[in-house]
Every structure is written in structure tokens, then in C-alpha cells.
């Protein structure tokens, strides 16, 4: 729709030689997370990644909901909207559908995206709208000071659940896959390089890219992801998915993932104990989401065997592309000026004339 004359007048569409740096993406607002919050690392990683996009700042929009994580847009010197709790995917859908020239990013939290915003999230994924959705999962409600969230483990003792929570958590990756997501990935706040590699893949995906970022809330849920960060456990607990490579992990690749014949799903084995060809070679383009789904079920409650990286990245027409295609096709049939066509439209059907 950017062809409306007015929009054009305000918006540059000519590509510009860009020489942007991370600093260009820092807004003048003081960052206000708790000292030590994982959000800082994510912010820094995103700001440093942005120049890679090669998109001028004015064509980038961050839309967020409400939560600590959702303060993110204020700190990015791009366009941004800090909207209301849970609704960012819906708002971003309207923006993305009408403005193909923009790069639209959603920043959300586990409560924002999966509790109040669950419906908008799954519908955005189903529609495959051109959005990059970054879900900062700290497995807790930060902003409202520490209630459990839909990703908190069963039995979690929080302010609202002094006797322990009674509901099993969502697995955000499984949920996204169940909702027909075309791009699904996971990364960690503390691993900037990995985080950026995932952002890169997400940015390159046409359609909805869903990225779960494990984020430490050092105030209300400190250490939630330590098992994936501590040297003692890190290597044995984290599975780094790499497209085209066999899935092995551990300091010396002593673990691997296989697809046991006759079994259901995927399993972790000692590399030494299986034939090399049995090891699953990671392919994020597998059409069948059952593969990525099986991957998503690998981790146990202690996070042991958590895959990170891109689980799935497949092509499917995006909602906004299709919708704009329909509009464009209809507009191509426009013969006169809009005013003339409008006159025709108003005068269509059974009309009569009074002299």
C-alpha cells in the first residue's frame, strides 16, 4: 500500500548507502532494567546486529507488549511502539500487512506472548505474517514482580503460588510448531554470537520468524538457565543445531541425537555407541514439522538436552504477501482515476434518475 501518494511523500524508498553501527541504534533513553538483567545482553546483541540488516533505521519498527522485555523499543533508535499487554503480534500484523517496505520486529515476554497474548501469537504464526518475533523467556513475570508464567516449571513457588504452581508449562517451541510456524528458533541471552546468528537467520526468513531467547531475570528467577551457561553442565546440556551437520554435542561431541528405528521421536545417545549414519543430520528445511517437534521435546525439566539454533525454516506464502497480492491484482484492474472508479462504484447496481 505504500503507493498512496501521501505515504510516498514522507517515506524514502530509494536505497541508501548505509554505514550504520551499533551506536546508531541506541536511542537517547536511559535503559531501565535491573542491573544484571539478561535484557541488557540481548539489547546489545540486537543493536550490534542491526547494521547487518542493511536497512535504514527509519524502515525498522519494534513493536512490543508490556513487561520488562517490552521496554525494548524505547532503547532502539528506530521507530517503535510499546503497546499493550499481549497485543503486539496483532498490531504488528496490521503494520506489516500495510507496509511491506518496513522490517517489523516484535519483542515480547513469556507472559506477554504466551499468557495474555497466546492467541495473537499462534494466529500470527499460522498466518505466517512477515514479523520477527523475539520472545524473551525468563520463565517468570518480571514487571509485575514475580508471579509464575506459562513457562514456569510445575510446582513453581511464587507470590501468586505459595504452595507451588499447579499447571504444566508450555514448551514455546512445540506450541509454535503446533501453530504451523514456518521459522522456529531458540537462543540464549548470554551467547551473543549465537544470538546474532539466529537473528540473522530470522531476518532472512520471509514470513513469521519465532525466536525464543532464554533470558535471565536475576531478580525474580535468577539462574533459570544456568545449566546451559555453567561450564560444568553447559556442553552436556546444550545441543547446538547446525543446518546440514550431524547433531552431536558435549565438549568432545560425545553425545548425539538419533532417530531410533521403531521408536517415536528422537533420542540422545553416546556418540561412541551408535553408527555414524544413525546420527540425525540437522535439516531445518524439512517440510514435515514432526521432526522439529520431536527436537523440541528433547530437553528434560532440568534443561538437559536443550537444542538451540534454528529448529525449522521452511517456505510458505506469507499472509501479508498474499493479501497485498490480491489488492495489487485488483488495483491493476483499475481503469480510471480513483475518483472516476468511485463514481462508477457508487452508480452501480439498480439506479434511477429523477429529472
Amino acid at each position: 500500500m505504500p503507493d498512496a501518494k501521501n505515504v510516498e511523500r514522507a517515506v524514502t524508498t530509494a536505497p541508501i548507502a548505509l554505514k550504520l553501527t551499533a551506536k546508531d541504534f541506541k536511542s537517547d533513553q536511559e535503559v531501565r532494567w535491573c542491573p544484571g538483567c539478561g535484557d541488557y545482553a540481548i539489547l546489545a546483541a540486537v543493536q550490534a546486529f542491526m547494521p547487518e540488516l542493511g536497512i535504514p533505521r527509519e524502515r525498522i519498527v519494534f513493536v512490543s507488549g508490556i513487561g520488562c522485555s517490552s521496554r525494548f523499543p524505547y532503547y532502539m533508535d528506530t521507530y517503535g511502539m510499546h503497546s499493550i499487554h499481549g497485543r503486539a503480534p496483532a498490531i504488528a500484523t496490521g503494520l506489516s500487512t500495510t507496509r511491506p517496505d518496513l522490517s517489523v520486529w516484535v519483542v515480547t515476554g513469556d507472559g506477554d506472548a504466551l499468557s495474555i497474548g497466546g492467541n495473537h501469537l499462534i494466529h500470527a504464526l499460522r498466518r505466517n505474517v512477515n514479523l520477527k518475533i523475539l520472545l524473551f523467556n525468563n520463565r517468570i513475570y518480571g514487571l509485575t514482580k514475580g508471579q509464575y508464567s506459562p513457562t514456569s516449571e510445575l510446582g513453581k513457588v511464587t507470590k501468586s503460588t505459595p504452595a507451588g504452581s499447579a499447571d504444566s508449562p508450555f514448551n514455546p517451541i512445540s506450541l509454535a510448531l503446533g501453530a504451523e510456524a514456518t521459522f522456529v528458533a531458540r537462543t540464549i541471552d548470554s551467547d551473543r554470537k549465537h544470538l546474532q546468528s539466529v537473528l540473522r537467520a530470522a531476518a532472512g526468513h520471509r514470513g513469521s520468524a519465532f525466536v525464543e531467547i532464554y533470558q535471565n531475570c536475576n531478580i525474580f528467577n535468577d539462574g533459570a538457565f544456568d545449566a546451559l551457561k555453567e561450564p560444568a553442565t553447559r556442553d552436556d546440556f546444550t545441543i547446538r543445531l547446525e543446518h546440514g551437520n550431524p547433531i552431536t554435542f558435549g565438549r568432545n561431541a560425545e553425545w548425539c541425537v538419533i532417530h531410533p528405528p521403531g521408536g517415536f521421536g528422537l533420542e540422545v545417545r553416546r556418540t561412541a555407541e551408535v553408527e555414524p549414519h544413525e546420527i540425525v543430520t540437522h535439516d531445518r528445511t524439512v517440510a514435515e514439522p514432526a521432526y522439529a517437534f520431536a527436537l523440541s521435546r528433547l530437553p528434560g525439566e532440568d534443561l538437559r538436552h536443550s537444542p538451540i539454533g534454528v529448529f525449522r525454516a521452511v517456505d510458505r506464502p506469507s499472509y501479508d504477501d498474499l493479501v497485498r497480492g490480491q489488492v495489487a491484482a485488483a488495483r491493476a484492474r483499475l481503469t480510471g482515476s480513483p475518483e472516476e472508479e468511485l463514481t462508477k462504484l457508487l452508480n452501480s447496481g439498480d439506479t434511477w434518475t429523477i429529472m
Binding site: 524514502t12 517503535g80 495473537h120 475518483e339
Partner: protein, 613 residues
């Protein structure tokens, strides 16, 4: 046989039958023929909530009322002069509305014992004398249709279904309607199945011929064209007019229109209609729910589209939080509420005006918006454009309050000259507006609107959100004085909207009683006032298009009259606002029946007031 022709000035016909009998179509066609003739018209469809209630039952009755006259009329008529009843259920459901002496045309084929029993008729009303006092015409519509189609290559079921065209032919003859457009319509409608064209055309002609030949109809009627403003006309429903108004607003603003909607009766047709007009750059999105619908719309507005979300009361209730965000963001947003009877699911196919207070006050915090209401089906076109003007000029949410009666009712519409429609062009911000850079909350002193700086504009990168913002800079602010200022500024912004003065119709300037209304009550109030004036009883009428802000002269107008009465299809919602604002002891006259007021009941009520004023 030449029949006598009698002149009438107005007629009200109600077509009633089973949901499957095609009464809406029949009524539509009759209306169209009538419009061609230049009568003034007003229509009122009435259909069941069920998709297909069991055939022959009372809840399954569907009807269509059309009022046409050789003068300018305002309502679809209080009581039908003619009832066409396709089955016993249709008779039973509608008889109560008929005045004695009215004409009833009955499809005798359906008056079987089984059908009579279905609706609780102990005896056949055709025989038991209960219809004495009406002019009853028993016609074997079904069997005559089937007979007329004998030999044609269609199924018995299709043949029977053509009986509505037989009835239409009969009525068209009876009221001397031109029938070319109907024949053309049938060609178009059944283009894919030529055998049905033939069948329906045959049925129509058979009905016409039946009228001409049978002795049962001794008199034929004519209603002369009304003296109407010259120009091109078409018959239009409120929902269609509203949708076309939005298309026109898109054209006149040069902005893409984005409609985010979730289906709901009686608003869905706005979504349906707009989804046909993609060539005007209209994008429609059926969202997952009403919250997503308004959210996506707000996102589109943020991006520089004319954002509209259409729904009915339950949907508006869900959108409140997001509308409140739009108030804080100060972005254009049109929220169309086609009101229906509540609370809760209520009576979804019935009309009501009980969402006014929600429109004005139904959000947390001080979250003022503009509120606009159309007064008649065709007026929905202008009201939509007016809503767009306010939203775009003042960067504010606007609630556009239609209702079920306007949505589905129709009237002739004098087609506007497109180039004469308001110019709605807006300027997006394109460069910094202050020496210190871009200030997203630095206002235009005339409109109090903030700049609309859409993403994609270089150099104006900024962040907005639902937290309280500092004046001018738009930065987050918890400063008490700033908050107080911003709350008052948002209220002032709405009050500052320029709206035309309230017009009063008080021909002799002698009235002491003023009837004030808003929305779809315009027709019945107007008709009642005319009737009173014709009887020499002076009365003044004024109708509010703008509920927020109110026109500046309302206070003056109210004080000119001894008594102010406000008829509403709610428990007195406008009356509450008027009383609070102007401390005028306005009388609330209320009916909450899911139906429009009838002119006669208003006339009766007003007469008392005028006489005692």
C-alpha cells in the same frame, strides 16, 4: 378485463414467509421496481437469528417490509396495509401488526393441517372467521406456480421455490410496478442455470397475469412518483452505505483503507462489502477476534493507513483496552459499532441504541473519543466520511454508532458527486518540527493534533506507547503536573473538534416542545413531528450527529424550549448526558424492544406533551 385503477399516496407492504421462501429477495426486488418508479421508499427487513429455523415454525419466519409513497417518507411504516403470508407461521407472526381492514394475500397451499398445527392454530384461520375484518385473498401460490412451470425441465423443488416470483408478479401488477429490472435481474442471478431464468421469469409473468385475470383483484393501484431532488438514485442499506463511505474516504484522503474486523451480526456485511473493493486499495482482514481486529487496525493506522474496525456491541466491549491505547497514541482510528439489542448476546438480529454510554465512557482512565452517529441508511455514507474527517484531522479514535435498523434498512440515496465530497488529505510529518529535533507530541495549535510521523520517514524515528507521555517530547513521564495537563489536553482535543451546529426544524418557530434525538430514531421522530404539525400542533425537532463533542449551540437550542424530550431505544443514555451537561430537565422517553419506534406511538406521546406544554 380492464380493472379499475385507484391512486394512493402511500402503501406499506410486508412480505412474510419461511426463511427458505426467499422473502428478502422478493422484498428487495419489489423495492427496486418501486425505486425505479420514483417513489420515495423505506424498507425494514426482519429475519430470524437462526440460519434455518425448522420450516414452517414461528421462529423461522422471515419478513421484509417496504413503504413507498408519492411524498418524502421517513420510516418503513408503522403498520402494513398489505401482508403477503406464504404460510400459516407468517400469518400468525405478523397478524398482530395489521390494522383492521388491511389486505392479506395468503398462500393457501401451505394451510395444511400439519402446518397449522405446527404453529398452534387449532382451526384454519381461513375458515374460522378470525380474519373477518381483513380483505383476505386466498391464492394457491405454490400449485399455480408449479402448474405454470409444467413441462419445464426443472425439478419439482425448483418449481415450488419459484412461488415467490409468482407472488412478486402478482404484487407488481397490483401496484403497477415496472418489471423490466426484475426480469433483467433474474437473467443475471441465474446466468449459470438458464432453466431457472426461464422458470422464474415464467412464474413472475404468471403472477402478473393472474392479477390481471382473476376476479379476486378488482382494483389495481398506482402510487405516483415522489417529488424528489433531481439526480441519480439507488436504493441502499446502511451497511453498504457505510462501507462505500469508507471507500470514498480512502479515495478522498489518498490513504489506503485498512479494515480489521471479526464477523458479528449485524456488522459483518461491512466486512463483506469492503472486501470487494480491493481495487481502491482497501485491505480487509478477518482477524482472530475483536481485540486483534482493532490491534491490527491500529498498527495499520500507525503505518499511515485509514484504519477502521467494524463490529457490534460485544466487540466494542472487547476493544476498550486498545481504544484506550489509541487515545494515548493519538492516532486516527474509526471504530464502527452497529448496535444490536443487549446486554450480552441479547437479541443479535434486533436493533438498539444502548451502546452510547459505552462509546462515550467505556474505557479505563480518562479516555475521551469522538462519537458520530448516522440517522438513516443512506446517511451512513456521509457519517462514515465525517468520522474519517475527524479521525484524520484530529488524530483520534472516532466511534461511529450505527445500529441494526440502519444496517439492514434501506432507502433511496441521491448519489453524490464524488468531487464534491470533503477533501480529506492529510500531511504526514516529514521533517523535524523543532530546533531540538522531532517532537512527537508537539501539537498543531489549531487542532491540538500531534504530528503523524509514519515509520519509513527518515530522521523522525521515535517511540510511542501507552505509558503517560511528557508534553511535546512524548518521553515517558510520571510527573504529576504533566499527567494532569495531558489528561486535560486529551479532553480538550475532543472538545476542540469543529463540528457543525445542531440544526433545528421548527417551521413556524412557535413550538414550545423540542424533540431531541440521535441515530436511527430520526425517521420515526421526523414522521411523528410532521404528523403533529399537519394537525396544527407545533413541535421542534433536532437530531444530533455528533455526540462527542456536542455542537457548540446545543445549550442555546435547549434553552429555547419549555420542554425537551429525548426518545431513545435504550433507558435514557443521551438524556443522561444532556441533563448532566446542560442541567436541562430533559424527559427520557424510552423503548427497548429491539424494534424501531413507530411514528404513531411517538406522535401519541408528543401530542400529550405539546398539549400540556
Amino acid at each position: 378485463m380492464t380493472k379499475q385503477v385507484r391512486q394512493l399516496d402511500r402503501v406499506v407492504i410486508r412480505f412474510a414467509g419461511d426463511s427458505g421462501d426467499g422473502m428478502q429477495l422478493t422484498g428487495d426486488r419489489f423495492t427496486s421496481e418501486t425505486a425505479q418508479l420514483g417513489n420515495d421508499i423505506s424498507t425494514l427487513p426482519n429475519f430470524p437469528a437462526e440460519i434455518r429455523a425448522p420450516a414452517g415454525t414461528l421462529p423461522g419466519v422471515s419478513s421484509f417490509q417496504v413503504h413507498f409513497a408519492d411524498f418524502d417518507i421517513l420510516t418503513p411504516g408503522d403498520a402494513p396495509h398489505v401482508l403477503v403470508a406464504m404460510n400459516p407461521a407468517a400469518l400468525k407472526a405478523n397478524l398482530g401488526d395489521l390494522p383492521r381492514g388491511a389486505t392479506i394475500i395468503l398462500n393457501t397451499d401451505e394451510f395444511t393441517n400439519r402446518n397449522l398445527a405446527k404453529v398452534g392454530y387449532a382451526a384454519n384461520p381461513l375458515d374460522d372467521g378470525s380474519l373477518d375484518g381483513y380483505a383476505v385473498h386466498p391464492v394457491a401460490l405454490t400449485s399455480m406456480t408449479v402448474k405454470a412451470l409444467d413441462g419445464q425441465a426443472i425439478s419439482k423443488k425448483d418449481a415450488e421455490r419459484a412461488k415467490n416470483m409468482f407472488a412478486l408478479g402478482l404484487l407488481s401488477w397490483l401496484y403497477s410496478r415496472p418489471h423490466e429490472s426484475t426480469l433483467a435481474f433474474l437473467e443475471r442471478k441465474f446466468a449459470a442455470r438458464p432453466e431457472l431464468v426461464t422458470a422464474n421469469v415464467t412464474a413472475f409473468k404468471a403472477g402478473w397475469a393472474f392479477g390481471e385475470t382473476t376476479e379476486g383483484f378488482a382494483v389495481r393501484y398506482e402510487v405516483k412518483p415522489a417529488r424528489q431532488q433531481p439526480g441519480n438514485y439507488r436504493n441502499i442499506t446502511g451497511n453498504t452505505a457505510l462501507a462505500l463511505g469508507l471507500v470514498a474516504a480512502g479515495v478522498r484522503s489518498g490513504l489506503p483503507v485498512f479494515l480489521g474486523a471479526y464477523p458479528i451480526t449485524p456488522a459483518s456485511d461491512i466486512l463483506h462489502e469492503l472486501s470487494k473493493h480491493k481495487k481502491f486499495g482497501v485491505t480487509t482482514m478477518q482477524a482472530e477476534d475483536e481485540i486483534a481486529a482493532v490491534g491490527a487496525t491500529l498498527g495499520a493506522s500507525y503505518g499511515g493507513a485509514l484504519g477502521v474496525t467494524s463490529t457490534s456491541g460485544p466487540g466494542v466491549a472487547l476493544k476498550g483496552e486498545t481504544i484506550s491505547l489509541a487515545v494515548a497514541l493519538e492516532l486516527p482510528l474509526i471504530v464502527v459499532d452497529v448496535q444490536r439489542a443487549g446486554p450480552s448476546t441479547g437479541m443479535p438480529t434486533k436493533t438498539e441504541q444502548a451502546d452510547l454510554q459505552m462509546a462515550l465512557f467505556g474505557r479505563h482512565g480518562e479516555a475521551p473519543v469522538a462519537v458520530v452517529a448516522p440517522r438513516s441508511p443512506a446517511d451512513c455514507f456521509d457519517a462514515a466520511i465525517e468520522a474519517a474527517r475527524i479521525a484524520l484531522t484530529y488524530r483520534t479514535p472516532v466511534l461511529l454508532l450505527s445500529d441494526g435498523y440502519l444496517a439492514n434498512g434501506s432507502e433511496p440515496w441521491l448519489l453524490p458527486d464524488v468531487t464534491g465530497l470533503p477533501d480529506l488529505r492529510v500531511e504526514f510529518a516529514s521533517e523535524p518540527n523543532s530546533p531540538d529535533g522531532f517532537m512527537p507530541y508537539l501539537r498543531d495549535p489549531a487542532t491540538l493534533a500531534r504530528p503523524w510521523a509514519i515509520p519509513g520517514t527518515p530522521g523522525l524515528e521515535h517511540r510511542i506507547g501507552g505509558l503517560e507521555k511528557a508534553d511535546i517530547t512524548g518521553d515517558i513521564s510520571y510527573d504529576p503536573t504533566n499527567h494532569d495537563f495531558m489528561v486535560r489536553t486529551r479532553a480538550a482535543r475532543i472538545e476542540a473538534i469543529q463540528v457543525p451546529d445542531l440544526e433545528v426544524e421548527d417551521p413556524d418557530q412557535t413550538a414550545r416542545v423540542l424533540v431531541l434525538g440521535w441515530g436511527s430514531t430520526y425517521g420515526p421522530i421526523g414522521a411523528a413531528c410532521r404528523a403533529l404539525r399537519q394537525r396544527g400542533l407545533p413541535i421542534a425537532q433536532a437530531h444530533l450527529r455528533h455526540l462527542a463533542p456536542m455542537p457548540r449551540n446545543v445549550d442555546d437550542v435547549l434553552r429555547r424550549y419549555d420542554r425537551v424530550v429525548i426518545p431513545e431505544m435504550n433507558l435514557g443514555q443521551l438524556a443522561q448526558v444532556i441533563r448532566a451537561r446542560y442541567l436541562v430537565d430533559a424527559i427520557a422517553y424510552n423503548q427497548v424492544r429491539g424494534l424501531p419506534f413507530t411514528a404513531s406511538e411517538l406522535e401519541f406521546m408528543l401530542e400529550e406533551l405539546v398539549k400540556n406544554a
